[in-house]
């Protein structure tokens, strides 16, 4: 709790968090205005898909930077050394810091999208289950990319390194991962589709998208071909859960193992 409060005080003074949430709020409001002409019954689904498509541009990059800078600030302001000279190990510190940063980012996002329900209620018929799926997908993206950001903050020595790593990771998940898969797509057959599926769902954006779209009923798994059936060998929710756990554990471990102090050694 101490770490959460500390994180809040540090972020509330800075502009990063406000700018990030401000942009998320503005974009979601803009989409709401744009969707206001949609039909009462179906508008909510279209809005949710558009919202997700827009947020995948924002949430990953914001979380990467906020997570990374939050950790790097501890190095820069020498508070990390002060904390570690007391009883804390770096693993313990990173765990507490993770909880604090994740809490700080997830609570406002969830709070905003719950407030967002109010204007939606006047425009569309709300399907709470699918809207819940949208919030869950945002939480998962936040969890994964914040943790990756904290990993970047932990292994980086300078702000330039953070920028480089963050942009590279964002570029990888946003473009490169799918690009590589597309390059191999023509070779996918029934024999290797399961492996292809594992790699496909390693992208948190894809895992969250399939989870959301299946919750919205846009992907119907009743009448699939054998290939698609093998591709979807687990439920979308389980794919997403595995993805989140995988990235959180791996990036936490890398953050601990490859942790480096600020500046040149």
């Amino acid at each position: 709790m101490h770490y959460v409060w500390k994180e809040w005080k540090e972020n509330v003074k800075g502009k990063g968090l406000w700018i990030s949430f401000g942009i998320i709020v503005l974009v979601s409001l803009f989409l709401l205005f744009k969707s206001s002409s949609l039909s009462f019954e179906q508008g909510i689904y279209i809005l949710q898909i558009n919202l997700f498509d827009m947020m995948i541009y924002l949430i990953p990059i914001f979380c990467l930077f906020l997570g990374a800078f939050s950790l790097f600030q501890e190095k820069e302001q020498k508070t990390l050394i002060m904390l570690l000279t007391r009883r804390d190990t770096f693993t313990g510190f990173l765990l507490k810091k993770t909880i604090a940063v994740q809490t700080l980012l997830i609570i406002p996002i969830v709070a905003w999208f719950l407030i967002y329900l109010l204007p939606i209620k006047f425009l569309f018929e709300i399907d709470f289950i699918s809207y819940g799926a949208l919030i869950v997908s945002f939480i998962c993206l936040t969890l994964v990319f914040t943790q990756l950001g904290m990993m970047i903050g932990s292994v980086s020595r300078s702000i330039m390194q953070i920028v480089g790593f963050a942009v590279a990771i964002w570029f990888y998940f946003f473009f490169l991962h799918d690009f590589i898969l597309l390059s191999f797509l023509s070779d996918v057959s029934y024999d290797n589709v399961k492996f292809f599926s594992i790699v496909y769902f390693l992208n948190p954006i894809s895992a969250a998208r399939i989870f959301l779209e299946s919750a919205l009923g846009t992907y119907n798994f009743d009448h699939m071909s054998k290939l698609l059936q093998t591709f979807m060998w687990l439920k979308p929710g389980i794919f997403l859960l595995i993805n989140v756990c995988f990235y959180m554990i791996v990036s936490f471990a890398i953050g601990v193992v490859f942790h480096r102090k600020e500046g040149k050694e």
Binding site: V12, L26, I49, F175, L182, S183, L185, S186, Y219, N220
Partner: protein, 445 residues
Amino acid sequence: MKRCIFLLFLMLLLGSLNLHATYAEDLQSLLDNLGDGEVLHLENKTYEGNIVITKPMEIVGSEDTVIRGDGLGNVISIEAPGVKLKNLTVTNSSMTRNDAEEYAAIKIHSDGNIINNVTITDSFHGIYLSQAHENVIENCHIIGLGDGTIGGQGNGLHIYFSNNNLFKNNFVDGARDGMYFEYSNDSEAFGNYLTNNRYGLHYMYSHDNTFKENIFTSNKGGAAVMESFRNVLENNQFIYNYGHKSFGILLLMANDTVIENNTLFFNQRGLYIDSSTNNLIQNNHIVQNHIGIELWASSNEQVFTLNKIEENIIPVFTLGGQGRNYWNKDGQGNFWGSDFPVIDLDQNKIGDVPVIYQSSLTELIGDQELTYLFLKSPAIKIYDKVNQLFNEPKIMFEDSSPIVMDKWINTYWVWLMLAGIFVLFIIVKGRFLLCTMYGRNGRKM
């Protein structure tokens, strides 16, 4: 004494069982006793079916009038012409698929009937017209069994060998096909709402029908026109038919169809045309679909003119080679949105240079169904561009007379205003804290 009580109980039980039979007989005998053209007003209660109407008459229900079938056949069979049914709920037809006959809540075998404001639930087909002509079905509410049992149930409105019928303001939710026409010609449908069905509309071997101002949403496929000629689809909305094989409109071996002034929004494919010839696609708004128009090479002589085709991930996709299709008519092409900037120096609202769209994804999409999973990925456009460097791209369409439209003012002012407020907020926030801050030892900062 015990025997007496037991006998009394048995008699009461038999009596109560017989009561149901009496209700059914009551309704049937009431109908049988009516004269030609007479009106029967039903009370606010549940009547047991099944019933057969053999003479012209009018049956008018009240708010809670229910006719409940025995689950073994059609609940209401109309054998006579000129029957009117109004304000009823009809439920519980047979669901069997093992009989030669397919059952329905209301089965019409005659001409000139009017079915108005009837709600149908728990039935195989909703309303079935079998060799029935010049009927009017309006304001009916047909609820199917829903998504999991689409294959195991019938259609909302099933029209079989029936011509010149009118379908107006009906609602069909969760059936196999919302409206299914087979060998049925010259019918009209207006203002129907078809949702959560397999296909909203399905024409098979049905010609010269008109379908106007209907809404198709959340179906596996919006309208499927198969082996049917000279049908008109006008002013309809095809929205959110979004599954991985879904479409707004499918033309399969459909010729001379006129598709005009429709909105195809947020579908997996807006228009899906295969093995069809000589269709006119005019003045439609095809927007925000995964694939705007998917056109198979077996389709020829389609004319696309004055359509607004914009914000689709792939505007047009031609598979299996280029057919003979025309992207303009009388010097008027289509509007392609901001993805295809058009120069109009002579300001005649027609672009000075053709709009050409090339893609190298043809084989990938044609051969590998998993490609659809990547359509929303930002990588696909880059992959396409990179692929074009190494492989010969194929021309998807060439519109030699693209339409230029005036820029219109939309909600961007709201966006700009909000952005202004946001910038102001950040600037002001830079000088003042948003909440009281406490520093070391609880001192205010």
